[in-house]
Protein backbone atom coordinates (compact mmCIF):
# COMPACT_ATOMS: atom_id res chain seq x y z
CA UNK A 1 0.00 0.00 0.00
CA UNK A 2 1.54 3.22 -1.15
CA UNK A 3 1.08 6.20 1.12
CA UNK A 4 -0.33 8.31 -1.68
CA UNK A 5 -2.79 5.53 -2.44
CA UNK A 6 -3.87 5.78 1.16
CA UNK A 7 -4.02 9.54 0.93
CA UNK A 8 -6.30 9.20 -2.06
CA UNK A 9 -8.51 6.79 -0.13
CA UNK A 10 -8.81 9.32 2.65
CA UNK A 11 -9.56 12.09 0.21
CA UNK A 12 -12.28 9.93 -1.32
CA UNK A 13 -13.76 9.25 2.08
CA UNK A 14 -13.83 12.96 2.87
CA UNK A 15 -14.91 14.27 -0.51
CA UNK A 16 -17.69 11.75 -0.78
CA UNK A 17 -18.66 12.08 2.90
CA UNK A 18 -18.45 8.34 3.48
CA UNK A 19 -18.21 6.80 6.92
CA UNK A 20 -15.88 3.96 6.01
CA UNK A 21 -13.88 2.33 3.22
CA UNK A 22 -12.52 -1.17 3.74
CA UNK A 23 -10.17 -2.85 1.32
CA UNK A 24 -8.95 -6.42 1.43
CA UNK A 25 -6.31 -7.51 -1.03
CA UNK A 26 -4.78 -10.94 -0.57
CA UNK A 27 -3.91 -11.02 3.07
CA UNK A 28 -3.92 -7.24 3.34
CA UNK A 29 -6.83 -5.30 4.67
CA UNK A 30 -7.19 -1.56 4.89
CA UNK A 31 -9.98 0.27 6.63
CA UNK A 32 -10.43 3.98 6.50
CA UNK A 33 -13.18 5.31 8.72
CA UNK A 34 -14.46 8.80 9.24
CA UNK A 35 -13.88 9.85 12.84
CA UNK A 36 -16.92 10.79 14.88
CA UNK A 37 -16.23 14.37 15.84
CA UNK A 38 -14.87 14.52 19.36
CA UNK A 39 -16.21 17.07 21.81
CA UNK A 40 -12.73 18.56 22.17
CA UNK A 41 -12.67 19.40 18.44
CA UNK A 42 -15.78 21.39 18.86
CA UNK A 43 -14.23 23.19 21.76
CA UNK A 44 -11.17 24.13 19.70
CA UNK A 45 -13.23 25.34 16.81
CA UNK A 46 -15.36 27.50 18.98
CA UNK A 47 -12.44 29.19 20.70
CA UNK A 48 -12.19 32.82 21.61
CA UNK A 49 -8.44 33.27 21.21
CA UNK A 50 -6.81 34.79 24.24
CA UNK A 51 -4.39 36.88 22.27
CA UNK A 52 -7.28 38.50 20.50
CA UNK A 53 -8.55 40.10 23.67
CA UNK A 54 -8.40 43.86 23.42
CA UNK A 55 -5.32 44.73 25.42
CA UNK A 56 -5.19 48.26 24.07
CA UNK A 57 -2.04 47.46 22.12
CA UNK A 58 -1.87 48.68 18.53
CA UNK A 59 0.51 48.94 15.62
CA UNK A 60 1.44 52.02 13.70
CA UNK A 61 1.54 51.23 9.98
CA UNK A 62 3.19 53.11 7.15
CA UNK A 63 0.59 55.38 5.54
CA UNK A 64 2.71 55.64 2.40
CA UNK A 65 5.56 53.92 0.61
CA UNK A 66 8.98 55.43 1.25
CA UNK A 67 12.16 55.31 3.31
CA UNK A 68 11.86 54.86 7.06
CA UNK A 69 13.91 57.25 9.22
CA UNK A 70 14.12 56.94 13.00
CA UNK A 71 16.03 60.21 13.40
CA UNK A 72 15.25 63.78 12.33
CA UNK A 73 18.78 63.97 10.85
CA UNK A 74 21.63 61.48 10.56
CA UNK A 75 23.44 62.86 13.61
CA UNK A 76 20.43 63.32 15.84
CA UNK A 77 19.01 60.91 18.39
CA UNK A 78 16.09 58.67 17.41
CA UNK A 79 12.60 60.07 17.92
CA UNK A 80 11.72 57.09 20.10
CA UNK A 81 13.27 53.90 21.40
CA UNK A 82 11.80 50.65 22.61
CA UNK A 83 10.32 51.08 26.09
CA UNK A 84 9.70 54.83 25.64
CA UNK A 85 6.36 56.31 26.61
CA UNK A 86 4.73 58.36 23.84
CA UNK A 87 1.85 60.80 23.96
CA UNK A 88 -0.75 61.42 21.26
CA UNK A 89 0.81 63.51 18.52
CA UNK A 90 4.42 62.62 19.35
CA UNK A 91 6.50 62.09 16.23
CA UNK A 92 7.58 58.46 15.96
CA UNK A 93 9.54 58.55 12.73
CA UNK A 94 9.83 60.11 9.28
CA UNK A 95 8.93 58.49 6.00
CA UNK A 96 10.73 60.04 3.09
CA UNK A 97 8.76 60.00 -0.15
CA UNK A 98 9.52 62.06 -3.24
CA UNK A 99 12.27 63.83 -1.24
CA UNK A 100 9.69 65.02 1.29
CA UNK A 101 9.97 63.98 4.94
CA UNK A 102 6.57 62.93 6.28
CA UNK A 103 6.23 62.92 10.04
CA UNK A 104 4.45 59.92 11.44
CA UNK A 105 2.81 60.62 14.75
CA UNK A 106 1.29 58.54 17.50
CA UNK A 107 -2.49 58.71 17.40
CA UNK A 108 -2.86 57.38 20.92
CA UNK A 109 -0.59 57.36 23.94
CA UNK A 110 1.29 54.20 24.90
CA UNK A 111 4.63 52.50 25.42
CA UNK A 112 6.78 51.56 22.41
CA UNK A 113 7.00 47.82 22.68
CA UNK A 114 8.77 46.96 19.41
CA UNK A 115 10.22 48.91 16.52
CA UNK A 116 9.45 46.75 13.52
CA UNK A 117 11.34 48.47 10.68
CA UNK A 118 15.00 49.30 10.33
CA UNK A 119 16.41 52.77 9.98
CA UNK A 120 16.90 53.64 6.31
CA UNK A 121 14.80 50.72 5.12
CA UNK A 122 12.18 50.94 2.35
CA UNK A 123 8.73 50.45 3.77
CA UNK A 124 5.63 49.43 1.84
CA UNK A 125 2.24 50.96 2.25
CA UNK A 126 0.56 49.39 5.27
CA UNK A 127 3.76 47.88 6.68
CA UNK A 128 3.82 47.71 10.48
CA UNK A 129 6.41 50.14 11.93
CA UNK A 130 5.81 50.19 15.67
CA UNK A 131 4.02 48.02 18.13
CA UNK A 132 2.72 50.14 20.98
CA UNK A 133 1.25 48.81 24.23
CA UNK A 134 -1.28 50.55 26.42
CA UNK A 135 0.49 52.97 28.77
Amino acid sequence: MEIDELERLIRLLKDEALSEITLWEGDRRITVRQATPRPSDQATQGKAPDEARDTGAFTVNAPLVGTFHRRPSPDAAPFVGEGDLVRSGDTLCLIEAMKVMNEIQAEKPGRVERILAEDGQTVDYGQALFRIAAP
Binding site: L64, V65, G66, T67, E96, A97, M98, K99, T122, D124, Y125, G126, Q127
Partner: protein
Protein backbone atom coordinates in the same frame (compact mmCIF):
# COMPACT_ATOMS: atom_id res chain seq x y z
CA UNK B 1 20.33 50.84 -22.08
CA UNK B 2 20.62 54.03 -20.11
CA UNK B 3 18.78 52.42 -17.22
CA UNK B 4 18.83 49.10 -15.43
CA UNK B 5 15.68 49.01 -13.37
CA UNK B 6 12.13 49.76 -14.49
CA UNK B 7 9.16 50.37 -12.23
CA UNK B 8 5.89 48.98 -13.59
CA UNK B 9 3.18 51.45 -12.65
CA UNK B 10 0.22 49.20 -13.37
CA UNK B 11 -1.46 45.93 -12.46
CA UNK B 12 -2.98 42.83 -14.06
CA UNK B 13 -2.08 41.41 -17.43
CA UNK B 14 -0.22 44.50 -18.66
CA UNK B 15 1.95 44.62 -15.53
CA UNK B 16 2.85 40.99 -16.13
CA UNK B 17 3.52 41.82 -19.79
CA UNK B 18 5.92 44.65 -18.86
CA UNK B 19 7.72 42.50 -16.27
CA UNK B 20 8.21 39.80 -18.92
CA UNK B 21 9.58 42.38 -21.35
CA UNK B 22 12.06 43.58 -18.71
CA UNK B 23 13.23 40.01 -18.18
CA UNK B 24 13.77 39.62 -21.92
CA UNK B 25 15.83 42.81 -21.96
CA UNK B 26 17.81 41.65 -18.90
CA UNK B 27 16.51 44.65 -16.98
CA UNK B 28 15.45 44.53 -13.36
CA UNK B 29 11.82 45.33 -12.69
CA UNK B 30 9.93 46.71 -9.72
CA UNK B 31 6.29 45.69 -9.44
CA UNK B 32 3.91 47.82 -7.41
CA UNK B 33 0.71 46.50 -5.93
CA UNK B 34 -2.27 47.57 -3.91
CA UNK B 35 -3.14 45.60 -0.82
CA UNK B 36 -5.89 43.86 -2.78
CA UNK B 37 -3.36 42.59 -5.32
CA UNK B 38 -0.79 41.30 -2.84
CA UNK B 39 -1.24 37.68 -3.93
CA UNK B 40 -0.85 38.23 -7.68
CA UNK B 41 1.65 35.62 -8.91
CA UNK B 42 3.25 38.01 -11.39
CA UNK B 43 4.75 39.90 -8.45
CA UNK B 44 7.14 36.98 -8.00
CA UNK B 45 8.44 37.51 -11.52
CA UNK B 46 9.62 41.04 -10.78
CA UNK B 47 13.00 41.72 -9.20
CA UNK B 48 11.19 43.48 -6.38
CA UNK B 49 7.55 44.13 -5.44
CA UNK B 50 6.32 46.96 -3.27
CA UNK B 51 2.91 47.77 -1.81
CA UNK B 52 1.88 51.30 -2.69
CA UNK B 53 -1.56 51.67 -1.16
CA UNK B 54 -5.00 50.26 -0.49
CA UNK B 55 -7.34 48.65 -3.05
CA UNK B 56 -8.79 52.02 -4.07
CA UNK B 57 -6.90 52.93 -7.26
CA UNK B 58 -7.01 56.65 -6.42
CA UNK B 59 -4.77 55.85 -3.44
CA UNK B 60 -2.51 53.34 -5.19
CA UNK B 61 -2.20 52.93 -8.98
CA UNK B 62 -3.36 56.51 -9.57
CA UNK B 63 -1.33 58.04 -6.76
CA UNK B 64 1.59 59.90 -8.31
CA UNK B 65 3.40 60.43 -4.98
CA UNK B 66 3.11 56.74 -4.11
CA UNK B 67 4.47 55.65 -7.50
CA UNK B 68 7.30 58.17 -7.61
CA UNK B 69 8.27 57.36 -4.04
CA UNK B 70 8.27 53.65 -4.86
CA UNK B 71 10.53 54.30 -7.84
CA UNK B 72 12.94 56.40 -5.82
CA UNK B 73 13.21 54.07 -2.84
CA UNK B 74 13.73 51.02 -5.05
CA UNK B 75 16.29 52.70 -7.27
CA UNK B 76 14.22 52.44 -10.45
CA UNK B 77 15.39 54.72 -13.23
CA UNK B 78 12.41 54.43 -15.55
CA UNK B 79 8.63 54.01 -15.20
CA UNK B 80 6.42 52.05 -17.57
CA UNK B 81 2.80 53.19 -17.14
CA UNK B 82 1.05 50.36 -19.03
CA UNK B 83 -2.37 51.46 -20.31
CA UNK B 84 -5.15 53.17 -18.39
CA UNK B 85 -4.38 54.66 -14.97
CA UNK B 86 -1.69 57.36 -15.45
CA UNK B 87 -0.51 56.26 -18.89
CA UNK B 88 -1.78 59.36 -20.68
CA UNK B 89 -1.42 61.88 -17.88
CA UNK B 90 1.01 64.68 -18.89
CA UNK B 91 1.36 65.77 -15.26
CA UNK B 92 2.66 62.30 -14.33
CA UNK B 93 5.21 62.57 -17.15
CA UNK B 94 6.23 65.95 -15.79
CA UNK B 95 6.71 64.65 -12.24
CA UNK B 96 8.75 61.72 -13.58
CA UNK B 97 10.97 64.14 -15.45
CA UNK B 98 11.37 66.33 -12.34
CA UNK B 99 12.58 63.32 -10.39
CA UNK B 100 15.00 62.20 -13.08
CA UNK B 101 12.90 59.17 -13.98
CA UNK B 102 12.60 58.15 -17.63
CA UNK B 103 8.96 57.83 -18.64
CA UNK B 104 8.36 54.97 -21.08
CA UNK B 105 6.18 56.79 -23.57
CA UNK B 106 6.12 60.04 -25.49
CA UNK B 107 7.28 63.35 -24.06
CA UNK B 108 5.00 65.55 -21.99
CA UNK B 109 4.68 68.00 -24.86
CA UNK B 110 3.45 65.34 -27.29
CA UNK B 111 1.16 63.82 -24.69
CA UNK B 112 -0.44 67.19 -24.03
CA UNK B 113 -0.83 67.85 -27.74
CA UNK B 114 -2.47 64.53 -28.63
CA UNK B 115 -4.49 64.62 -25.38
CA UNK B 116 -6.21 67.70 -26.81
CA UNK B 117 -8.29 65.99 -29.51
CA UNK B 118 -9.05 69.25 -31.26
CA UNK B 119 -5.42 70.35 -31.37
CA UNK B 120 -4.33 66.93 -32.64
CA UNK B 121 -6.97 67.11 -35.41
CA UNK B 122 -5.73 70.51 -36.50
CA UNK B 123 -2.07 69.48 -36.38
CA UNK B 124 -2.47 66.41 -38.57
CA UNK B 125 -4.85 68.19 -40.95
CA UNK B 126 -2.16 70.82 -41.49
CA UNK B 127 0.15 67.98 -42.59
CA UNK B 128 -2.42 66.85 -45.16
CA UNK B 129 -4.03 63.93 -43.32
CA UNK B 130 -7.79 63.76 -44.04
CA UNK B 131 -10.13 64.62 -41.17
CA UNK B 132 -13.91 64.82 -40.90
CA UNK B 133 -15.67 68.21 -40.99
CA UNK B 134 -15.54 69.68 -37.48
CA UNK B 135 -15.98 72.84 -35.46
CA UNK B 136 -14.87 73.91 -32.04
CA UNK B 137 -17.68 75.22 -29.80
CA UNK B 138 -18.38 77.67 -28.49
CA UNK B 139 -16.77 79.83 -31.11
CA UNK B 140 -16.91 83.56 -30.41
CA UNK B 141 -18.19 84.35 -33.91
CA UNK B 142 -21.28 82.18 -34.11
CA UNK B 143 -23.69 79.91 -32.31
CA UNK B 144 -23.38 76.13 -31.86
CA UNK B 145 -26.32 75.76 -34.25
CA UNK B 146 -24.47 77.59 -37.01
CA UNK B 147 -21.33 75.53 -36.39
CA UNK B 148 -23.41 72.34 -36.48
CA UNK B 149 -24.93 73.34 -39.82
CA UNK B 150 -21.46 73.72 -41.31
CA UNK B 151 -20.39 70.30 -39.92
CA UNK B 152 -23.60 68.63 -41.07
CA UNK B 153 -25.81 66.05 -39.38
CA UNK B 154 -25.52 63.46 -38.03
CA UNK B 155 -22.64 64.65 -35.89
CA UNK B 156 -20.83 63.80 -32.71
CA UNK B 157 -20.27 66.12 -29.79
CA UNK B 158 -16.85 65.14 -28.45
CA UNK B 159 -14.91 66.22 -25.40
CA UNK B 160 -11.63 67.89 -26.29
CA UNK B 161 -9.97 66.05 -23.38
CA UNK B 162 -11.70 62.80 -24.16
CA UNK B 163 -10.88 59.16 -23.84
CA UNK B 164 -12.44 55.80 -23.22
CA UNK B 165 -15.63 56.82 -24.98
CA UNK B 166 -16.61 59.32 -22.31
CA UNK B 167 -17.87 62.78 -23.19
CA UNK B 168 -19.29 61.72 -26.56
CA UNK B 169 -22.87 62.21 -27.78
CA UNK B 170 -24.48 61.45 -31.15
CA UNK B 171 -26.71 64.21 -32.55
CA UNK B 172 -29.10 63.38 -35.39
CA UNK B 173 -30.72 66.81 -35.82
CA UNK B 174 -30.68 70.42 -34.56
CA UNK B 175 -33.32 69.78 -31.88
CA UNK B 176 -30.94 67.41 -30.03
CA UNK B 177 -27.90 69.68 -30.24
CA UNK B 178 -28.09 71.85 -27.12
CA UNK B 179 -28.94 68.96 -24.83
CA UNK B 180 -26.13 66.82 -26.25
CA UNK B 181 -23.56 69.57 -25.83
CA UNK B 182 -24.62 70.12 -22.21
CA UNK B 183 -24.54 66.42 -21.44
CA UNK B 184 -21.15 65.84 -23.09
CA UNK B 185 -19.65 68.89 -21.37
CA UNK B 186 -20.90 67.79 -17.95
CA UNK B 187 -19.59 64.27 -18.44
CA UNK B 188 -16.26 65.55 -19.70
CA UNK B 189 -15.97 67.94 -16.79
CA UNK B 190 -16.54 65.14 -14.32
CA UNK B 191 -14.15 62.74 -16.05
CA UNK B 192 -11.36 65.04 -17.20
CA UNK B 193 -11.92 68.39 -15.44
CA UNK B 194 -12.41 70.04 -18.83
CA UNK B 195 -15.87 70.94 -20.21
CA UNK B 196 -14.70 71.95 -23.70
CA UNK B 197 -16.25 70.04 -26.58
CA UNK B 198 -16.14 70.07 -30.40
CA UNK B 199 -18.41 68.88 -33.16
CA UNK B 200 -17.39 66.31 -35.73
CA UNK B 201 -19.38 64.78 -38.59
CA UNK B 202 -20.61 61.28 -37.70
CA UNK B 203 -20.30 58.41 -40.16
CA UNK B 204 -22.86 55.63 -40.40
CA UNK B 205 -21.39 52.28 -39.34
CA UNK B 206 -17.78 53.14 -40.22
CA UNK B 207 -14.89 50.82 -39.54
CA UNK B 208 -12.41 51.72 -36.86
CA UNK B 209 -8.90 51.07 -38.16
CA UNK B 210 -5.78 52.08 -36.24
CA UNK B 211 -2.15 52.02 -37.24
CA UNK B 212 0.64 51.07 -34.85
CA UNK B 213 3.60 53.40 -35.11
CA UNK B 214 7.02 53.55 -33.47
CA UNK B 215 9.21 56.65 -33.24
CA UNK B 216 12.75 57.02 -31.95
CA UNK B 217 14.73 59.91 -30.47
CA UNK B 218 16.28 60.62 -33.88
CA UNK B 219 12.83 61.47 -35.25
CA UNK B 220 12.54 58.31 -37.33
CA UNK B 221 9.00 56.95 -37.52
CA UNK B 222 7.83 53.61 -38.87
CA UNK B 223 4.49 51.82 -38.88
CA UNK B 224 3.83 48.14 -38.12
CA UNK B 225 0.64 47.84 -40.12
CA UNK B 226 -2.91 48.45 -39.00
CA UNK B 227 -5.45 46.83 -36.71
CA UNK B 228 -9.17 46.47 -37.26
CA UNK B 229 -11.02 47.44 -34.06
CA UNK B 230 -14.62 47.87 -35.18
CA UNK B 231 -16.14 45.26 -32.89
CA UNK B 232 -16.93 47.49 -29.94
CA UNK B 233 -19.71 48.34 -27.57
CA UNK B 234 -19.83 51.84 -26.14
CA UNK B 235 -16.32 52.39 -27.49
CA UNK B 236 -15.06 49.34 -25.58
CA UNK B 237 -13.38 46.98 -28.02
CA UNK B 238 -14.12 43.29 -27.80
CA UNK B 239 -12.45 41.76 -30.87
CA UNK B 240 -9.46 43.18 -32.74
CA UNK B 241 -7.38 41.91 -35.63
CA UNK B 242 -4.35 42.63 -37.75
CA UNK B 243 -4.14 43.31 -40.59
CA UNK B 244 -7.56 44.90 -41.22
CA UNK B 245 -9.55 42.49 -43.43
CA UNK B 246 -11.05 43.41 -46.82
CA UNK B 247 -9.19 46.67 -47.24
CA UNK B 248 -8.36 47.76 -50.76
CA UNK B 249 -4.55 47.48 -51.13
CA UNK B 250 -4.18 51.09 -52.26
CA UNK B 251 -6.33 52.29 -49.37
CA UNK B 252 -4.26 50.22 -46.95
CA UNK B 253 -1.06 51.81 -48.21
CA UNK B 254 -2.48 55.35 -48.00
CA UNK B 255 -3.81 54.73 -44.50
CA UNK B 256 -0.47 53.43 -43.25
CA UNK B 257 1.37 56.33 -44.84
CA UNK B 258 -1.10 58.83 -43.35
CA UNK B 259 -0.39 57.42 -39.89
CA UNK B 260 3.33 58.03 -40.30
CA UNK B 261 2.64 61.55 -41.57
CA UNK B 262 0.34 62.22 -38.59
CA UNK B 263 2.89 60.92 -36.11
CA UNK B 264 5.61 63.00 -37.71
CA UNK B 265 3.35 66.09 -37.61
CA UNK B 266 3.20 65.92 -33.80
CA UNK B 267 6.83 64.86 -33.37
CA UNK B 268 5.82 61.50 -31.94
CA UNK B 269 8.31 59.32 -30.07
CA UNK B 270 7.92 55.81 -28.63
CA UNK B 271 4.97 53.51 -29.44
CA UNK B 272 1.64 55.04 -30.38
CA UNK B 273 -1.53 54.46 -32.31
CA UNK B 274 -3.14 56.61 -34.99
CA UNK B 275 -6.89 56.00 -35.20
CA UNK B 276 -8.93 56.36 -38.36
CA UNK B 277 -12.49 55.82 -39.44
CA UNK B 278 -13.03 54.17 -42.82
CA UNK B 279 -16.38 54.56 -44.57
CA UNK B 280 -18.03 52.24 -47.06
CA UNK B 281 -16.87 54.36 -49.99
CA UNK B 282 -13.27 53.64 -49.01
CA UNK B 283 -12.48 57.08 -47.62
CA UNK B 284 -10.61 57.36 -44.35
CA UNK B 285 -10.37 60.09 -41.71
CA UNK B 286 -8.04 60.66 -38.77
CA UNK B 287 -9.86 60.80 -35.46
CA UNK B 288 -7.22 60.71 -32.74
CA UNK B 289 -3.88 59.42 -31.51
CA UNK B 290 -3.26 57.26 -28.48
CA UNK B 291 -0.05 57.97 -26.64
CA UNK B 292 0.27 54.59 -24.95
CA UNK B 293 0.56 50.88 -25.57
CA UNK B 294 -2.87 49.61 -26.57
CA UNK B 295 -4.64 46.65 -25.01
CA UNK B 296 -4.77 45.08 -28.47
CA UNK B 297 -1.04 45.40 -29.25
CA UNK B 298 -0.53 41.59 -29.26
CA UNK B 299 -2.18 41.18 -32.68
CA UNK B 300 0.53 43.42 -34.12
CA UNK B 301 3.18 41.44 -32.25
CA UNK B 302 1.75 38.21 -33.64
CA UNK B 303 2.13 39.31 -37.25
CA UNK B 304 5.40 41.24 -36.82
CA UNK B 305 7.31 38.97 -34.43
CA UNK B 306 8.27 42.09 -32.44
CA UNK B 307 7.90 42.63 -28.71
CA UNK B 308 6.26 46.06 -28.64
CA UNK B 309 6.63 46.54 -24.90
CA UNK B 310 10.34 45.76 -25.11
CA UNK B 311 10.57 48.17 -28.07
CA UNK B 312 8.91 50.87 -25.94
CA UNK B 313 11.53 50.42 -23.26
CA UNK B 314 14.39 50.36 -25.77
CA UNK B 315 13.10 53.53 -27.44
CA UNK B 316 12.67 55.27 -24.07
CA UNK B 317 16.31 54.51 -23.32
CA UNK B 318 17.30 56.39 -26.47
CA UNK B 319 17.96 53.39 -28.71
CA UNK B 320 17.29 53.87 -32.42
CA UNK B 321 14.57 51.99 -34.28
CA UNK B 322 15.51 48.49 -35.36
CA UNK B 323 15.10 47.89 -39.09
CA UNK B 324 11.61 46.68 -40.00
CA UNK B 325 10.04 46.42 -43.42
CA UNK B 326 6.25 46.00 -43.18
CA UNK B 327 5.89 44.72 -46.75
CA UNK B 328 8.04 41.67 -46.05
CA UNK B 329 8.23 41.37 -42.29
CA UNK B 330 4.51 41.22 -41.47
CA UNK B 331 3.29 37.65 -41.70
CA UNK B 332 -0.14 36.06 -41.49
CA UNK B 333 -3.20 37.25 -39.61
CA UNK B 334 -4.01 37.59 -35.93
CA UNK B 335 -7.26 38.03 -33.99
CA UNK B 336 -7.65 38.99 -30.35
CA UNK B 337 -10.73 38.42 -28.19
CA UNK B 338 -10.98 40.10 -24.83
CA UNK B 339 -12.35 38.01 -22.03
CA UNK B 340 -13.92 40.44 -19.59
CA UNK B 341 -15.52 39.51 -16.29
CA UNK B 342 -18.83 40.94 -17.47
CA UNK B 343 -22.20 39.36 -18.03
CA UNK B 344 -23.44 40.06 -21.57
CA UNK B 345 -26.84 38.63 -20.64
CA UNK B 346 -27.22 41.26 -17.90
CA UNK B 347 -26.17 44.43 -19.65
CA UNK B 348 -22.45 43.71 -19.30
CA UNK B 349 -22.67 44.04 -15.54
CA UNK B 350 -19.20 43.52 -14.06
CA UNK B 351 -19.04 40.08 -12.50
CA UNK B 352 -17.00 39.82 -9.34
CA UNK B 353 -16.02 36.64 -7.56
CA UNK B 354 -13.37 34.02 -7.05
CA UNK B 355 -12.11 32.42 -10.24
CA UNK B 356 -11.50 28.70 -10.46
CA UNK B 357 -9.53 27.57 -13.47
CA UNK B 358 -10.79 24.43 -15.19
CA UNK B 359 -8.91 24.61 -18.47
CA UNK B 360 -7.08 27.36 -20.37
CA UNK B 361 -6.55 27.54 -24.11
CA UNK B 362 -3.22 27.31 -25.81
CA UNK B 363 -1.60 25.32 -28.60
CA UNK B 364 -0.58 25.99 -32.16
CA UNK B 365 -0.98 29.69 -33.00
CA UNK B 366 -2.62 30.55 -29.68
CA UNK B 367 -1.34 33.14 -27.23
CA UNK B 368 -3.02 33.95 -23.96
CA UNK B 369 -2.19 37.13 -22.08
CA UNK B 370 -3.51 36.87 -18.57
CA UNK B 371 -2.65 37.42 -14.95
CA UNK B 372 -5.25 34.83 -13.97
CA UNK B 373 -4.46 32.24 -11.32
CA UNK B 374 -6.62 29.68 -9.61
CA UNK B 375 -8.40 31.35 -6.71
CA UNK B 376 -7.99 34.92 -8.01
CA UNK B 377 -10.60 37.33 -6.71
CA UNK B 378 -12.08 39.59 -9.37
CA UNK B 379 -12.55 42.87 -7.54
CA UNK B 380 -14.88 45.75 -8.27
CA UNK B 381 -12.05 48.28 -8.00
CA UNK B 382 -10.38 47.39 -11.26
CA UNK B 383 -10.87 46.88 -14.96
CA UNK B 384 -12.86 43.77 -15.83
CA UNK B 385 -10.30 42.47 -18.34
CA UNK B 386 -9.42 38.91 -17.31
CA UNK B 387 -7.54 37.66 -20.33
CA UNK B 388 -6.79 38.28 -23.97
CA UNK B 389 -6.86 35.31 -26.31
CA UNK B 390 -4.80 35.88 -29.44
CA UNK B 391 -4.92 33.51 -32.42
CA UNK B 392 -2.43 33.66 -35.26
CA UNK B 393 -2.85 31.92 -38.61
CA UNK B 394 -1.32 32.07 -42.05
CA UNK B 395 -4.58 33.67 -43.14
CA UNK B 396 -7.66 35.12 -41.46
CA UNK B 397 -9.71 31.94 -41.67
CA UNK B 398 -6.99 29.87 -40.05
CA UNK B 399 -6.72 32.42 -37.23
CA UNK B 400 -10.51 32.48 -36.88
CA UNK B 401 -10.95 28.72 -36.59
CA UNK B 402 -8.09 28.52 -34.10
CA UNK B 403 -9.71 31.28 -32.07
CA UNK B 404 -13.02 29.44 -31.99
CA UNK B 405 -11.41 26.32 -30.54
CA UNK B 406 -9.35 28.36 -28.10
CA UNK B 407 -12.44 30.12 -26.78
CA UNK B 408 -14.09 26.75 -26.31
CA UNK B 409 -11.13 25.71 -24.19
CA UNK B 410 -11.27 28.85 -22.03
CA UNK B 411 -13.13 27.41 -19.08
CA UNK B 412 -13.24 29.07 -15.71
CA UNK B 413 -15.82 29.08 -12.93
CA UNK B 414 -16.83 31.81 -10.53
CA UNK B 415 -17.47 34.78 -12.80
CA UNK B 416 -19.50 35.44 -15.94
CA UNK B 417 -17.41 36.37 -18.99
CA UNK B 418 -17.66 37.65 -22.55
CA UNK B 419 -16.30 34.39 -23.94
CA UNK B 420 -19.49 33.11 -25.57
CA UNK B 421 -20.24 36.52 -27.03
CA UNK B 422 -16.80 36.53 -28.63
CA UNK B 423 -17.53 33.11 -30.12
CA UNK B 424 -20.81 34.41 -31.47
CA UNK B 425 -19.09 37.43 -33.01
CA UNK B 426 -16.36 35.50 -34.81
CA UNK B 427 -18.88 32.95 -36.13
CA UNK B 428 -21.20 35.59 -37.52
CA UNK B 429 -21.46 35.76 -41.32
CA UNK B 430 -21.02 39.54 -41.31
CA UNK B 431 -17.79 39.21 -39.33
CA UNK B 432 -16.59 36.39 -41.54
CA UNK B 433 -17.42 37.79 -44.93
CA UNK B 434 -18.83 41.28 -44.94
CA UNK B 435 -18.44 44.83 -43.68
CA UNK B 436 -18.57 44.70 -39.90
CA UNK B 437 -18.50 48.31 -38.76
CA UNK B 438 -18.65 49.94 -35.35
CA UNK B 439 -22.42 49.33 -35.30
CA UNK B 440 -22.02 45.56 -35.71
CA UNK B 441 -21.93 44.59 -32.06
CA UNK B 442 -24.85 46.80 -31.02
CA UNK B 443 -26.91 45.30 -33.84
CA UNK B 444 -25.93 41.79 -32.78
CA UNK B 445 -26.84 42.49 -29.15
CA UNK B 446 -30.11 44.19 -30.12
CA UNK B 447 -31.17 41.38 -32.43
Amino acid sequence: MTFHRVLVANRGEIALRVIEACRELSLESVAVFSQADARMPYLRLASEAICIGPADPAKSYLSIPALISAALVTGAEAIHPGYGFLSENPHFVEVCEEHGLAFVGPSRRVMELVGNKWAAREAVAAAGVPILPGECVPDANDSPEQAAERVGYPLLVKAISGGGGRGIRLVKGPQELAGAIAAAATEADRAFGDRRVYLERALVNPRHVEVQILGDALGQIIHLGERECSIQRRHQKLVEEAPAPRLDPALRDRLRLAAVVAARAVGYQNAGTVEFLVDERGEFYFIEMNARIQVEHPVTEAISGLNLVAEQIRLASGAPLAPFEPKTDLRGHAIECRINAEDPTRGFLPSCGKVEIEELPSGNGIRLDTHLYDGMEVLPHYDSLLAKVIAWGRNREEARTRMYTALERFRIRGVATTRSLAQEVISHPAFREEWAGTGFLDDLLAG
